[in-house]
Amino acid sequence: MSILLDGESRIVVQGITGREGAFHARQMIAYGTKVVAGVTPGKGGQEFEGLPVFNTVGMAVSEKRADVSCIFVPPPFAADAIMEAASAGIKLIVCITEGIPVLDMVRVMAFLKGLDTVLIGPNCPGIISPGKAKVGIMPGNIHREGGTGVISRSGTLTYEVVDQLTRAGLGQSTCIGIGGDPIVGSSFIDLLTRFKEDPQTKGVILIGEIGGTAEEEAAEYIKADFPKPVIAFIAGQSAPPGRRMGHAGAIISGGQGKAQNKIDALKKAGIAVQLNLGTIGKAALEVMK
């Protein structure tokens, strides 16, 4: 098993005819992912690598039974694309797009309330269940199937960690980049809850960064209710306050979001916090054993 995504998942790519969408759709297919359709409004009827392109997600669902969507739509239209996918009955939406206005995400999250839809991202590398399927932009080749779950607010930082894990002999059940924006569809806790129930997952790596209080909340949840080993890393210990460090969500403001707060909260909850990124693979091996 894995969480959210497996070899049976049927993926539709929203924005498949764009440069990024096309490139990564090919990469996903090359990884062995079941991409079943693309969507670009106005380009319905075209083909992409032998797959049908539809005008709406609704048609991809009714014609090709798509149940997962991967969104590569430019920021001004991305919130609309997420809602379209959710209203079409898509169960897992992975939004790669970076730069969505935060008030658009406020509306999206209110829209999703009460719906049986999981949103990953936006501004994220996506989700991969190694050996089964990849929905996103991460390099597939650094992953190996195994028992470690990875949840991260970052992209390349996750690749760095995954690469070390794989080299250390720790394969992954599912790796999820939840996104670097202030408001993201799935939190650490949402996904930990799923990893808890997943028999393949033996332990979890949690990669946080400055901004917000998601790591503090995760720490409390883990302490209270998560029985598997966890190792955490927090990026941005040397970041100055008041500056947005690349990710829209990575900012220390109003006294909140400092790396040290997060590290303290995690340690207080009894979670192993790795301070040196260079040796996180080896450290994980210790903790997971």
Binding site: G99, A110, P125, T156, D163, I210, G212, S238
Partner: protein, 388 residues
């Protein structure tokens, strides 16, 4: 994107939020005409800079006659102000706002931000106006009141009542009405203009019962500037670091810091982690630079040029985990930049991931002098060794 106080107050006027009468001036000889046009004395002279904390740094002065006004303006215009938010270099004051002095009965605090955990905008209100709100929140959290705005309903009158009727003592009915109206206005402009912060500190009640925004801070969500053209034109880049301005032009995430190790990384998280590793190795990063996941050769070249332009930089660390950004692209960009500028400091390169061999090959075959690190820990150690 930050607005200046005077710009934010112009916006406030459009949304029916009362502000003091005032005039903006950019040279001291405009002072007497401005002060004549505004009711006073007293007047308040306020330096227009983006950074907070100007009050304690001499950026706000109460003056009681036109001579004092000119002296106050001259003490600010063209001068540098150093606050806890500007860094040690400070920022130059280019404009000054002259406002009528009002008769203050009570100082309150009002702001609106997006509450990340609740995923909704949230209005924050406090009796403790004029004070550092972070400190109030830390010491006496019971003095801070919050109301969230449900997108399904928008700001509702009850949200305002829930805040205002907690004041003790309760202000006059007219002032209650004034406060509710200001809150409604703040919420409307917050949504309409894609704000990430609106802050009024202090929001005052005058002795004659009027509610007036004495100060005004507004920040627009950078991600929403594509649909906020009216706000975009208000951008004042004069206070920005020139290297940061240049980076912005090329869509590079670059932030100048106080250290001397230049760093170029792909991805914000990895860039932060790289800064952390540098610091743990005993050195200080000179910048944060995330060239992004989808950087092309030109962006790499520009990024490298920006680092080289920073005269404080004593060593450069390139840390790339090739994913979407392939290592060969990175290498070509670095070589192209090096061809234009002489590299006078040690260069340490750590490459990993997609097309790593091609990338290393390109670097090796160039004229570039550089050190190779096999992993991140080693990279940081080498860099720190170069400057210690």
């Amino acid at each position: 994107m930050k607005l200046h106080e005077y710009q934010a107050k112009d916006v406030f006027r459009k949304y029916g939020i009362p502000v003091p009468n005032g005039q903006l001036i950019s040279s001291s000889d405009q002072t007497s005409r401005a002060s004549q046009a505004i009711q006073g004395p007293p007047w308040v002279i306020k330096a227009q800079i983006h950074a907070g904390g100007r009050g304690k740094a001499g950026g706000v002065k109460l003056v009681h006659n036109p001579y004092e006004a000119v002296t106050a303006v001259e003490s600010m215009l063209g001068k540098k102000i150093v606050t806890r938010q500007t860094g040690a270099e400070g920022v130059t004051v280019n404009q000054v706002l002259i406002e009528e002095g009002l008769d203050i009965e009570r100082e309150l605090y009002l702001s609106m931000v997006v509450d990340r955990a609740a995923m909704m905008p949230s209005m924050i209100f406090s009796q403790a106006g004029g004070m550092d709100i972070e400190e109030v929140a830390a010491r006496t959290p019971q003095r801070i009141f919050k109301e969230r705005v449900d997108p399904a309903s928008g700001w509702m009158p009850y949200n305002g009542r829930n805040l205002v009727y907690r004041l003790d003592p309760l202000p006059s009915p007219n002032a209650v009405k004034g406060l509710l109206s200001v809150m409604d206005g703040v919420c409307r402009l917050f949504s309409a203009l894609d704000c990430s912060l609106v802050e009024i500190n202090p929001l005052i009640i005058t002795r004659d019962g009027r509610v007036v925004a004495l100060d005004a801070k507004m920040t627009i969500d950078d991600n929403a500037l594509f649909r906020q053209k009216d706000m975009l034109v208000l951008d004042d880049p004069r206070e920005k670091d020139p290297l940061e301005q240049m980076a912005e032009k090329y869509n590079l995430n670059y932030i100048r810091l106080d250290g001397n190790i230049g760093a170029m990384v792909n991805g914000a998280g990895l860039a932060m982690a790289t800064m952390d590793v540098i610091k743990m190795a005993g050195a200080e990063p000179a910048n944060f630079l995330d060239v992004g996941g989808g950087a092309n050769e030109e962006m790499i070249t520009k990024g490298f040029e920006i680092i080289l332009k920073d005269r404080r930089v004593k060593a450069i660390l390139i840390n790339i985990f090739g994913g979407i950004l392939r290592c060969d692209v990175l290498a070509r960009g670095v070589v192209a930049a090096a061809a234009k500028t002489s590299i006078r400091v040690p260069l340490i390169v750590r490459l990993e991931g997609t097309n790593v061999d091609e990338g290393r090959e390109i670097l090796r075959n160039s004229d570039l002098k550089f050190l190779v690190a096999k992993d991140l820990s080693e990279a940081a150690d080498i860099v720190a060794g170069q400057v210690s």
